[in-house]
Symmetry: D2
Subunit: 340 residues, 4 copies
């Protein structure tokens, strides 16, 4: 079976990880091109892959390198033109998240991919981690039961991004995890936030995201916390789960706790007996492989006719919809913005 | 100097702590009466204080016991009639928080105390802990600098309260701590929440509280979390602070971290340089005395002409105002409710 | 069924807990006497139990109070004369640990109890906690498999004891837990330690305790650690267990981890393949009742003809044997002291 | 200034880190050779350094590559012949720890380096970390005061080494840290341990190491612990310190705690008053640079006439002396082995 000719565009923070993983997955891929406008950066990374051609111009890459798959890891503003060019050149695309800077752009990419019959993958990396896959399993298998609510805290000191606010920087992680785990659409968003930097972007924000069926998720996002926290709570009727991504081991703790209500007289609403159950806690052993390794394997399988992986263009578009709605809510003092 | 004749009304969860502390503070107080409608409960606690008279009726207590100070630790619905009766009988009052079930009731009590020239103390216990006093010091001394924002997480599994929702149960702690630490008034409140119990009370809620000067505090309150968390973040320009009340030692961690912005060209908003400083962390040694011990000492001093302690009727009224506004916001899908 | 007439002798740190628990266990016990040489202390505690007679002299207590059970919670030096007097007066005894200051004294008490047909219980409190009972269950049920080794760290800052060294102060906890969990006798002890106080007692010590079957337990005991640690590791062939007594919840963590060895050529000892298994971690829900409550219930049952509880005079004697041997090893630069 | 021509011999676990750091330190070094007997491994690592020559034979490397510095990262058994060859060829040597498999071999290397006037550096990496440098500072500056004792726990599940026991595998870390921090010689060692693997090597061991001046350090070393722990306690008269190498931030916590003794009557040894002081805890900000980066910079400076770095051949020899003595103690049931 011939190898997938893959190229990486954008060699800032994330691109080198893509390049390394593509290169290591040599059974499936051949790294045929590296592209960055910054020649120094291109040289520094390129040196590690002496067999791979280097480009400062994406058109040259597409024309000469003829890649089957273009992995895009640039700032979000460049996603749309690059992905569009790649799709039009007949390549499949793996695009960093968020998929694009506006819903219109993201929707255009999704449509274009359909039209060209190319695959548009979105790099929702967390959906390929052992931890998030185990959360999805606990949800789908009904170990959690029905969800009461989800709370996520994703805070740290900096890094202030030059081009996006804290919502666009951090919320895509939570939104893509939730979309993958519960498989439901977002119905509405409310956002509050504040800005303490000269650019006037929000650097602290809180989102209340309502999903189909009434489930609420709440996100605390901040670049101004003295400590780094990556912690999600999934509170369910059968059991509850805490996912702390900074734990070296025991990232996931499933608490066999529960609350049930006995109502003797619903009319009167007086005779409600609350029963608490506190059972064992279990931290399941997790698949520790690097998420990108799994992701590239799944993508290769999809390109060879296998099932599609969990994060396609439509999923990326959904995330952008929520981000855009959150911005609208911020501008309206936290009003609920409905997503059609 | 004659002792303060104190009585405790309501011997459920908190009342016995009041009784024990009054009894131990024998240099300042004499425990002259215990009162509870439930005779069994009254007997069980009363047994520990053989010298103290027992009452099932508060009027009998006021008439016969002639207490100087009545400590009220009943469900919130009874605060108003009991405190009113005590003040009218000429006693000072120490009332459990929240001060009353409505702003109207709380305001009436504050006014009555003024008219009768009696002291109305509110039992904002946290304001008397070593940890919260150290936070106030760090704020007042400018160790924190200006505050960016405050975030509080106060969550656990249950205990569902029969008479109030999760906001009335848990938010008074945060609101009284914040009021004491920063000494500013609340300007507006937004609340979202959800209910998963047959009574229809909110059991998960998020509050965004804006203080004078634009400072925002955000509260996550829940009876449906698998784990108990009591954690406040005070993020400041000079340093930041984490207060974890469940830590046995090191409840307070002050991070000498900071962010500053160098703006080369404000017009262009392009040349913003973000500088991060990461210095030492310090966990100050804290006064470990039981808060109630300090509180009763401060109250005794006030009753003997000393300065008033930090939590008076007005402070309690302010908390009730915020709670009532939060309820109004909940009912209006999270709309901002301004507090005049 | 008539109640057991119980008395408490020694009202320092632990005695008041005994008194409170005896008093609360009113279905089984009547608290008929409190005894302490220090009249002030006796008065302060005695006040809480107005129905109970107070004694400064144990003979008067035994003569007048005629207790069925005497609970002894004095410094260790007084255990022997007090327990002896109580047994000779026909009472059963519950004695604080360590049972006596020497093997000779402890052995005499065990013998005397047999001769008088009275029960001599030793207050190995940990054997009645939910955590230690769960460890025993994990061991007995073979969840742990065979034990590789046990390591315990029991360290803190102070409290320096006036009458015993750090080994006599802290090791009884570990030794009684181990004796209860694994049910084996100690074969030999080695001890090293050092002293940094003017009395010359060891304030830091390490014990290596060998049990029947070759199992080794190692104890780190210290009054000179900046932090308090209470942590035991039970490393086993099937799974391993960490018991952290300072954890509020999740005191016990059972790791379904393992190591096995495949030996291709034992002669050569070269072809050893080591296989690691890393499975789930589980923190079982534990019985949270106060240990003394369980202990007094078990003792009452035993006095009424039920099975004997896990910590009898012989067990207390065994602990004293190990302590004495540890002292001998300390004196011989850590030489192995065999226990016959 | 001409670059130091450096080569790396042994490309197993640690060698690739050396190669990467030498390559990155391109201001000081030129990576002129990579050497490993295993051609596959050599190819895999060599690919990353296309400019660097590859050798399967060290003699060829020395002859053709003419390196100024040979970095040796092979199993310990090969250190002696390789370092000897390199020194005799006129190269300086940076040797992985432990320096050699026996005292005799290590001593021969130290002597040879002197004779040839070459530098023999030992790769005691921890001495170049920000954390250990901060510990040394706290000790040298007398922030800790005099040390009461040091305790280290270095345990994990595996990795069983094929050629050495758990002492040779793990103790070099502790011994080199201690040697660097306190700058004293070891006087004697006692070791106990046990073996649970078919090879019969110790896989659990405890060392008691006595330093000049009577200071005792105690090491718990294990390949059979369910959890990984890397934790040292330095207990001192002025303050105490905990170093937890697995903490992402706050690796070092300095506790301003203390114990002092007031002795009223030394003769009687009765009137000893123990005073406890519990002050702040401080976690200093640490230099987070990779230790190898610092180490290579210091080595380059030394080779250019600057001061020698903290870990030279003599330091490596000292560690091997302690390891050999520990083995002798193990064989003699834990007897104290004096180091001359």
């Amino acid at each position: 079976m011939s190898k997938i000719r893959a190229a990486v565009v954008g060699l800032g923070y994330w691109g080198p990880n893509l390049a390394r993983n593509v290169s290591q997955a040599s059974a499936d891929y051949e790294l045929v091109g590296l592209c960055d406008k910054d020649e120094k950066r291109l040289g520094r990374i390129g040196e590690l892959y002496p067999q791979t051609k280097r480009y400062t111009d994406v058109d040259a890459l597409l024309r000469e390198g003829k890649p089957d798959l273009v992995c895009i890891a640039t700032p979000v503003g460049a996603h749309h033109p690059l992905a569009k060019a790649a799709l039009e050149a007949g390549a499949h695309v793996l695009c960093e998240k968020p998929l694009a800077a506006t819903v219109a752009e993201a929707a255009e990419l999704v449509e274009l991919a359909h039209k060209k019959d190319r695959r548009l993958f979105v790099d929702h990396t967390f959906a390929y981690t052992g931890a998030v896959r185990a959360i999805r399993k606990a949800y789908v298998d009904r170990a959690l039961g029905d969800l009461f609510y989800v709370d996520s805290v994703r805070i740290n000191l900096g890094l202030f991004q030059p081009d996006v606010d804290v919502i666009w920087d951090l919320a895509p992680h939570d939104l893509s995890i939730l979309s993958y785990v519960i498989g439901r659409r977002v119905v509405s968003v409310k956002a509050t936030g504040s800005s303490h930097n000269p650019r006037g972007f929000a650097d602290v924000a809180y989102l209340t995201v309502e999903y189909e069926g009434g489930l609420q998720a709440h996100l605390h996002l901040s670049w101004l916390s003295p400590v780094k926290v990556r912690r999600m709570i999934f509170s369910g009727t059968n059991s509850s789960l805490i996912y702390d991504d900074l734990e070296a081991s025991e990232k996931l703790k499933i608490y066999d706790h529960g609350v049930t209500f006995d109502v003797a007289d619903v009319e009167a609403r007086k005779q409600v007996l609350v029963n608490y159950r506190r059972g064992d806690m279990r931290a399941p052993a997790l698949d520790n492989r690097e998420a990108l390794t799994t992701e590239l394997k799944d993508i290769a399988a999809a390109l060879r006719g296998g099932p599609l992986p969990p994060a396609m263009g439509e999923d990326g578009l959904e995330v952008v919809r929520v981000l855009e709605a959150a911005g609208a809510s911020l501008a309206k003092d936290g009003a609920r913005i409905t997503i059609s």
